[in-house]
């Protein structure tokens, strides 16, 4: 089965289920978001008055000092962390807990080590496409594993794969469930810089095809610029909120070379570093 037919099936499924996208361009809406952790010494406010709108097919990176609440915000969008105040909506519908419409790529690959690479991807695919035939589900899982360059490792146990390979499976697993929003929590933070570069290329290549709205937390300035349409800078906590937003006007598809050679690159970079240093 070709990829085109898979995509067509998916589209057909969506319309059959009667799900229609509202015409609004906003995919993800964070409205006056607040996060409070109660402590014995009183409440600790991590996030407050946080407003952010993310458009469809937009790639947004979030940058800020460690401990500022970036990851907290992301796990709130994922539904893994309860909201203390405000609202998170996907396509206008407030979220209720976690769900496969918001795929997550975690900081650690979080693969089930006793499963093979294919089984790990299938775990999600089986859940999201319960009506597809077994063969179709396998095709979907294999397609995405091929996309991340793991053609030969379908049946390798996750525990036998290197950290970088595992995170490739993590990427395949997230894309394979066709989420509306993709949430990436410093997915390459634990990798060496060479592997990180490779995985950034793979990520952006698949993303260019799928155009899934993506929110990625990172603390790597170059990564933030290379991947994003907009870089969101968060103020330092407590009571962190959006400090500044930088629009990155590089054409897509981008390559690392053209980005690095672009005259605006260092202006963007300086802007981000200035923000982080103040």
């Amino acid at each position: 089965m070709s990829t085109a037919t898979i995509k067509d099936n998916k589209k057909a499924e969506i319309t059959e289920n009667g799900i229609f996208y509202p015409s609004s361009k906003i995919m993800l809406d964070l409205d006056d978001l607040k996060k409070v952790y109660p402590t014995p010494k009183g409440d600790y406010v991590v996030l407050e008055h946080l407003n952010l709108q993310i458009m469809r097919e937009e790639f947004v990176t979030i940058i800020g000092h460690s401990g500022c609440g970036k990851t907290t915000m992301l796990s709130m969008i994922a539904g893994l962390n309860p909201i203390s105040g405000g609202r998170i909506a996907v396509l206008g519908n407030p979220i209720k807990g976690p769900g496969p419409d918001r795929g997550v790529i975690f900081q650690s690959p979080s693969l089930m080590p006793w499963m093979t690479a294919l089984q790990n991807v299938l775990l999600g695919v089986n859940q999201v496409f319960p009506h597809a035939s077994k063969k179709e589900r396998h095709e979907i899982a294999k397609y995405y594993l091929q996309k991340v360059g793991l053609d030969g490792a379908f049946d390798k146990k996750a525990s036998e794969l290197s950290q970088g390979m595992q995170q490739r499976v993590g990427i395949a697993r997230a894309f394979a469930i066709k989420p509306k929003v993709l949430l990436l929590d410093e997915p390459f933070g634990m990798l060496d810089s060479l592997t990180r570069g490779e995985l950034q290329d793979i990520l952006i290549e698949i993303w260019n095809k799928e155009k899934i709205t993506a929110v990625m937390v990172t603390h790597d300035v170059d990564e933030a610029i290379f991947l994003a349409d907009r870089v969101v800078m968060m103020t330092s906590g407590p009571r962190a909120k959006i400090g500044d937003i930088l629009k990155i006007d590089f054409q897509r598809p981008r390559t690392r070379k053209t980005v690095l050679e672009h005259e605006d690159y260092y202006t963007y970079r300086k802007h981000l570093i200035d923000f982080l240093e103040h």
Binding site: P100, M112, V128
Partner: protein
Amino acid sequence: MKQSITLGKVTEYVESGAFTSSVKSLGKKTLKFNSKKFLRNIIIPLFSILIFIGVWHLGSRALFNMEADYKIEKALNERGPEAAAEVESCIISGNIACQPNTLPSPVQVWESFQSLIADHKAIRADKRAFVEKTAILNEKRLAEGKEPITYTGRPSFVDQILTSLETVFAGFLLALFIAIPIGVIIGLSPTLRSSFNWLIQIFKPVSPVVWLLLVFMIVKTMTKDSNSDSAFIISFISVGLCSMWATLVNTAMGVSSVDKDYINVARVLKLGSLQKVFKVILPSSLPLIFTGLRITLSVAWMVLIAIELLAQSPGLGSFVWEEFQNGATDSNSKIIVAMFVIGIIGFLLDRIMLTIQNMVSFNKNEGV
């Protein structure tokens, strides 16, 4: 002149012999490595076994002499010098009737071991002959609807071992079927965990003997009417109850401490609760469950001997007890034989469990 000759020799050596010499040194290296390993893994353990046997031999010799001196002195005090001389000569002559009864020497134990094997062969032959002899009669009895005649001679040492293994496996399976489901349920719910915790903490340290008595109280009443083998039932249930705690605690711990990332993945994918348990929680806690099972089996084997001894069910425990009560000249050495057999079987059981544990452990680096 001299220099050039040596130089020439060196170059010749390098040119012609470089390859062979490197091969030689390689061979030497691997040989050296192997011999080191051989020394450490074979020679040294063998040597330590020899030392152990030597110390044992000397120790039993010393105890033998002490016991002999005591015996002679006793004869001297009670019956006079003539009787003492008689006892002494009797001991020296090696007559079984007057040997001092103390820790047996390695040789005596080895002889007892052989006699136990011979005894087993004799009993087996006897049993086979009996079966052949009664085959026709039994067929007739079966046709008439009567119970067949079975062999009722005493069990051999090997039979006792097999009975013990049967009991320990029955107990182990019981522990497995009680402890794992309860452990999973307790592990999943913090409320249940805290409500059962006191029970586990209190019952875990209870001695096997007390468990046996408790099981005895219940089983005695329950099997009153049936003619089932209540000694076997009592001992295997007691073994199961004594040994299940390690599995229970480990399963509960494994289930409750599943990596949060896996749980998050399950939540994001919205796996159903059954799927979550069988696809995520159970597989991830398997290594800990098997660690628990391994402890359970070794505990089961350890308490089995004491329980058999008390429940008077056949097996190694009752073998040891009967030999001790028997007090024959070779009883002590038979007890030592049983001790070694118990130890070796316990070790083998542990090895088997370790192998299984390593097979199910997904993280090969964590294996013990």
